[in-house]
């Protein structure tokens, strides 16, 4: 059996009396694109927050590359190679697009504060290296035209892309995207579709994505996990999931199509 990149087992989280995630087990293999779908309040975002250590689980375990990460702080999880975006955008509105991306690389900076104070050559070299890397991400996400604008002034779709660029800047092996298509127009969704494929195929990223746009999900996913009321109710390839009566019921029950 190959070791999974991400292995979640029996994950549980309650907020007071409310159980947001329960008995959730799934895995993600290197190089896959896996989607989590489910009605609002199903616990998808909570699952992301547990994996990335925004808050600790009340039960179960999470292994990333074979090592236990549950209960670890967010910044440590990122250091291990998990990057993420947030459902409610958490870009830095008062920084330029470029600075947003550069902040994503804070941990890669090797120049000390002293070299920065004295403006030693090492500092200049390091800044140039970081900026060159930021350039590549800015091009990849097609943000070149807005790179010196404050993120707050961008349209919503662009802000989403800034957040993805920032997450990529920390070089994650596993990228978690929480509803990246929310607020995007059809053309932008099409671009997102291409981007996700490229990230997997060209850059070797593994991607776990929460999304409501069914056509996008069906097109890009290798596997789909369906959640309802905190639990996993189905899992399979896009065509298997489409057929599953449980899924249809959960979605129709929640008034969604």
């Amino acid at each position: 059996m190959t070791r999974q990149l991400l292995e979640v087992s029996q994950l549980h989280r309650a907020f007071g009396g409310l159980v947001a995630v329960s008995e959730l087990s799934f895995h993600v293999t290197d190089g896959e694109v896996v989607s989590i779908i489910g009605p609002n309040g199903a616990g998808k975002t909570t699952a992301f927050n547990l994996i990335t250590g925004v808050y600790p689980p009340t039960g179960g375990s999470i292994h990333f590359r074979g090592s236990q990460v549950s209960g670890m702080a967010l910044h440590k999880v990122t250091d291990l190679g998990i990057g993420r975006t947030f459902q409610n955008l958490r870009i830095f509105p008062n920084l330029t697009v470029r600075d947003n991306v550069l902040v994503g690389m804070t941990r890669k900076n090797k120049a000390s504060m002293l070299t920065a104070c004295l403006r030693l050559p090492a500092f200049g070299r390091e800044e140039a290296r970081l900026n060159a890397e930021a350039d590549r991400l800015i091009d990849l996400l097609e943000l070149r035209q807005v790179e010196s604008q404050l993120a707050r002034n961008l349209p919503y779709g662009n802000q989403r892309r800034v957040e993805i660029a920032r997450a990529l800047a920390s070089d994650p092996a596993l990228l978690l995207l929480d509803e990246p298509a929310a607020g995007m127009n059809p053309a932008e969704i099409e671009e997102l579709n291409n981007l996700i494929r490229r990230l997997r195929d060209e850059f070797g990223k593994t991607i776990l994505i929460v999304e409501h746009h069914m056509s996008l999900v069906m097109e890009i996913s290798d596997r789909i996990i369906v959640m309802d009321q905190g639990r996993k109710i189905a899992e399979g390839t896009p065509s298997e999931v489409r057929e599953s009566p449980l899924v249809v019921r959960a979605y129709l029950g929640a008034g969604m199509v």
């Binding site: 910044h75 955008l89 509105p93 008062n94 920084l95 804070t106 500092f123 970081l130 920032r166 800047a169």
Partner: protein, 631 residues
């Protein structure tokens, strides 16, 4: 045992007045999520109005009491209308600054009218002492306890049994939902504010009667106690505030009896810090700290950070002017003002790093400034180190102190940072006052040597160039760091801490670094001051001084480097230039705080922002929060 009973009785009486003040703080925090730094004004005004009534009209105590409380009620009304209501759409810290301004004005005016001295509430206030078993109790302690029970009981009834009470609870729970329920939120807020102020007034008159003593700064002192009690009880819990007040009262009277009365006033500061560090939700707090999330400052764009480009004229012109000034001015008085201006600019620069860029509204900078001054003074006078060495040592030590100082507040956010740093500032001040062996206490340290340069002792001009060098070096360091990964990270942290953590950066480390740097700069200014004036005492490093530093930064512009330096220099010069006004210095600072926040919240050199709800109306992209709530 008998002594302990006595401690309990005295503690409960004093603690009762603290409880009332704390209830006021908690009520306002509950409905508005703001901390009313102006609450101290209600005590002072109530006590002095009571005193005036008794002195001028010979009114009896009851009339004085009612008059005082009514005056406090009016103070509450004015504070809410002027300093709080216009700021509904601003980040919550803004009303913290305006209420602070209100407090300063009130205290300063009282001091100007009645003088700084302590005076009796009434010369012929009858007082009698009763013995119950082994315990003695004064009539005023009995009255206090009775009034406290009556006032809190009435309040409890109002909050739990009346429709007004349920409306208050609804607004505290969720203001938006309360509006939908048809509650007139504005009216409810002002009524709550006035009730809170009246509670403060009751506490003021009772406190005055208890000791038969009133003085202008009684409000600030009681405010500190009310904060501590309220935090201890869990901030928004009215019941908790009462318990917190009583505990604080007993702890104080126990300290006075068993340890030393000098440390009595340190208890509140220590509790404030200790509780916020150890269990930020307090004894009876149920809720998480998440309500504080709304203190996010990201609606303010920061002005662009000036590039550190030494070829630009805009950097060299002010430097050149500063270098040449002593050639034009040879009056020592003006040299002194210029020197103080540069030093204040340096302190404001350091505070701006924390408050403007990292978004942590610190009220702790008087502690750093004082630490630097005392460290250098002690190193040079008691250890006999050469002046240059002690200045350098004191800068490094203050940086380390900054780390120690930042450690307790690392988990905190928004108002809690402000409260905790306020407590730390107070605690440092208390240590300067009471650690006599080291600091010589209130007497201060004298004969601090001036530095020498090639065998020549510094004169007025030498000191001017020294502080100019300090300011230039620290500005250079600040600009260099702001234009570096560290600077980007702290600016990002101000916008979104979770976002910073999500790229692998530990925000606690960032906070420690920024506090260390900021403290070192403020410590350098302090060390300079010690050797410049050759005499220091704790009076120059009180928490009020911390507030005036914050005033400088707000005036110049949060997050603007030239703004902060300008703000520091200007506010330092103002009272000196307006000679007649130096008496009103604090009131002027207070007025500036209010006017700036109301009419130019970005400060003189800061960047304009658009209130979040205005943006929604104009159809521009709304803030994250608004979008989230709309979803």
């Amino acid at each position: 045992m008998d002594l302990f009973l006595q401690v309990l009785v005295n503690g409960f009486a004093v603690g009762g007045t603290y409880a009332l003040g704390a209830v006021g703080i908690s009520l306002v925090f509950g409905v508005l999520n703001i901390i009313n730094f102006g609450q101290g004004a209600t005590y002072t005004v109530a006590a002095y109005v009571g005193m005036l009534l008794m002195m001028l009209t010979g009114a009896n105590v009851l009339v004085a009491f009612v008059g005082g409380v009514a005056a406090a009620f009016i103070v509450g009304y004015i504070t809410e209308r002027i300093a709080v209501r216009p700021l509904r759409n601003q980040p919550l810290q803004m009303s913290l600054i305006t209420t602070m301004g209100f407090g300063l004005i009130a205290e300063n005016l009282v001091q100007f009218i009645f003088g700084p001295q302590t005076q009796p509430l009434s010369a012929d206030l009858s007082s009698s002492v009763y013995s119950i078993g082994p315990v003695t109790i004064t009539n005023w302690e009995i009255v206090t306890l009775a009034v406290v029970v009556l006032a809190t009981g009435t309040l409890h009834f109002v909050l739990s049994r009346t429709s007004f009470g349920s409306a208050v609870r609804a607004v505290a729970e969720d203001r938006r939902a309360a509006v939908l329920l048809g509650i007139d939120v504005n009216r409810l807020i002002i009524v709550t504010f006035c009730i809170a102020a009246a509670m403060g007034g009751v506490a003021g008159v009772l406190g005055a009667a208890l000791y038969n003593a009133i003085y202008p700064t009684m409000g600030s002192l009681s405010l500190t106690k009310a904060f501590a009690a309220s935090v201890l009880g869990g901030m928004e819990q009215v019941g908790g505030a009462i318990v917190g007040g009583l505990i604080l009262g007993v702890a104080e009277s126990a300290t006075a009896v068993y340890i030393s009365s000098a440390w009595r006033d340190a208890i509140a500061f220590a509790l404030l810090v200790g509780v916020l560090v150890a269990m930020p939700t307090g004894l009876l707090g149920r809720r998480d700290l998440d309500k504080v999330e709304r203190t996010n400052l990201s609606v303010f764009p920061l002005p662009p950070v000036p590039r550190l480009d030494l070829r630009r004229m805009s950097i060299w012109l002010p430097v050149l002017i500063a270098l040449l000034l002593p050639l034009v001015i040879n009056d020592n008085y003006y040299m002194r003002i210029l020197t103080i201006m540069l030093m204040s600019g340096m302190i404001a620069l350091s505070l701006n790093l924390v408050a403007g860029f990292a978004g942590l509204f610190s009220l702790g900078h008087a502690a750093f400034y004082g630490f630097g001054a005392y460290a250098s003074a002690i190193l040079s006078t008691q250890l006999g180190l050469p002046v240059w060495l002690s200045i350098t040592g004191s800068i490094l030590l203050t940086g380390a102190f900054g780390v120690v100082f930042a450690w307790p507040i690392m988990r905190l956010r928004g108002h809690y940072v402000t409260m905790a740093t306020f407590g730390l500032s107070g605690l440092s001040w208390m240590i300067m006052l009471n650690w006599i062996d080291l600091t010589r206490g209130p007497m201060g340290i004298r004969a601090i040597p001036a530095p020498e340069f090639f065998g020549e002792t510094f004169g007025a001009t030498g000191f001017y160039y020294l502080i100019l060098a300090f300011l230039l070096i620290s500005t250079g360091i600040v600009l260099a760091l702001l234009n570096s990964p560290f600077g980007r990270a702290i600016r990002a942290m101000r916008d979104d801490e979770l976002g910073v953590a999500s790229v692998g950066q530990d925000t606690r480390v960032l906070k420690m670094q920024v506090f260390a740097l900021s403290a070192a700069i403020a410590g350098g200014a302090g060390a300079f001051w010690a050797h410049y004036v050759s005499y220091i005492s704790p009076d120059s490093f009180t928490p009020i001084v911390s507030i005036s530093f914050l005033a400088m930064v707000v005036f110049g512009g949060l997050g603007s480097v030239p703004g902060a330096i300008f703000g520091g220099a200007a506010l330092a010069a103002l009272p000196e230039i307006l000679r007649f006004a130096s008496e009103y210095r604090l009131a002027i600072y207070g007025l500036i705080l209010i006017l700036v926040v109301l009419y130019r919240p970005q400060g003189l050199l800061g960047m304009r922002h658009i209130a979040p709800d205005a943006r929604i109306r104009k159809g521009q992209p709304a803030s994250n929060k608004a979008r989230e709530e709309a979803a």
